[in-house]
């Protein structure tokens, strides 16, 4: 999986970084980003339900469709269209009962507007430079593969200079802690308000912070964190 992930982008109008730590049992996380023409940039994360070889292979199949833009007749600038086409292509009846959640966003460098859609996925978060404002970005849609013919809603937001988008899987926050509690998303979110790592390494900072509260041993699920910084 790691070999399929895109190289981080260290300079330019859109910079990316990521951290991926697979769970001991093969998981179903995958993520990526790519340029869409001259003016647009797309990023996404998927999480196939379950563990094992089947879930891992399914995530690779979806990822390859995304990397190759292999959705006939689909405008990849439209998050709702992409999720709709993926839903028709990956119905769980035809894929061993597997479904997946997804977050997909497309940023237009000219307008500084990002269109996004999520399917059965928790929000991604947009942080302003001083980290005083952490905005959830989510649209309420069914998971992908559950039912054919479903339509997907998308939304849009303006991106201020030096904002950072955090896109991550639930393995980032669904951790058992040292004191026997079960962490959830509200427990993780305050970490996004902390000063980010300087000179890169923000996803790794968050991984280290989560590991510090988690019980000993590997995390229960894949830890997938993608950050996108808009200059």
């Amino acid at each position: 999986m790691q070999s399929l992930l895109p190289a981080p982008i260290r300079s330019g109008p859109v910079m990316t970084d990521w951290f991926f730590q697979p769970s001991t049992e093969l998981g179903g996380d995958a993520f990526g980003h790519h340029q869409l023409g001259e003016h647009s940039f797309a990023g996404y994360l998927i999480d196939v339900a379950g563990h094992g070889v089947g879930a891992a292979m399914h995530s690779v199949s979806v990822m390859n469709v995304m990397r190759q833009r292999a959705l006939p007749g689909t405008d990849f600038h439209s998050p709702s269209a992409v999720l709709g086409s993926l839903n028709e292509m990956f119905q769980m009846d035809s894929h061993n009962g597997m479904y997946f959640s997804m977050w997909y966003g497309v940023y237009d460098l000219r307008t500084r507007i990002m269109n996004y859609a999520s399917a059965g996925h928790h929000p991604s978060y947009l942080a302003n430079p001083p980290r005083t404002d952490i905005t959830p970005l989510q649209t309420r849609n069914l998971v992908i593969g559950a039912m054919p013919g479903v339509s997907f809603k998308e939304a849009s937001c303006a991106i201020a200079p030096a904002s950072t988008l955090y896109v991550f899987s639930d393995g980032v926050f669904e951790v058992a802690t040292k004191d026997g509690r079960q962490w959830g998303l509200p427990d993780f979110l305050p970490l996004l308000s902390q000063p980010p790592a300087q000179d890169g390494g923000e996803p790794a900072r968050l991984y280290a912070a989560v590991k510090q509260v988690a019980r000993a041993g590997p995390l229960d699920d894949d830890f997938s964190m993608l950050t996108v910084t808009f200059t």
Binding site: A49, G50, H51, M92, G97, Y99, S101, G120, H121, H122, R140, N141, L142, V143, A146, M147, V150, Q182, G184
Partner: protein, 113 residues
């Protein structure tokens, strides 16, 4: 994870789930659940009040069961979820294909709607 089935009036089944709906929990009940709930082809109201945790395998069980029942002309309604479980149901927008009610009386009312 365990469950029991109680027949109600009108040929409806009340299915009471108890425990964690994670991978091991769902593995434990899946075959019996399918036989007892889906194979009968009876409309089911599913009580989630004693479900302490709901993960993706639990969601999958609900989706496949509801779709199978729909294929037999029957329905499934979930009800009584705790705040944490309801949050999971909301995130995956499961109510777009399976009705979800706060309690049994409203679940039964949804069936008659």
């Amino acid at each position: 994870m365990e469950f029991d089935v109680t027949p109600l009036e009108g040929g409806i089944h009340r299915v009471h789930l108890n425990g964690r709906m994670d991978s091991p929990g769902v593995d434990r009940i899946e075959l019996r659940f399918t036989a007892a709930v889906v194979a009968t082809g009876r409309t089911a109201v599913v009580d989630l009040s004693d479900v302490s945790f709901l993960a993706s395998m639990g969601i999958r069980l609900f989706i496949t069961s509801a779709r199978a029942l729909q294929g037999k002309g029957a329905k499934m309604v979930l009800y009584g979820a705790s705040k944490e479980v309801q949050s999971v149901l909301d995130t995956v927008a499961l109510d777009q294909i399976i009705p979800i009610a706060p309690d049994e009386s409203q679940a039964l009312a949804l069936l008659n709607a």
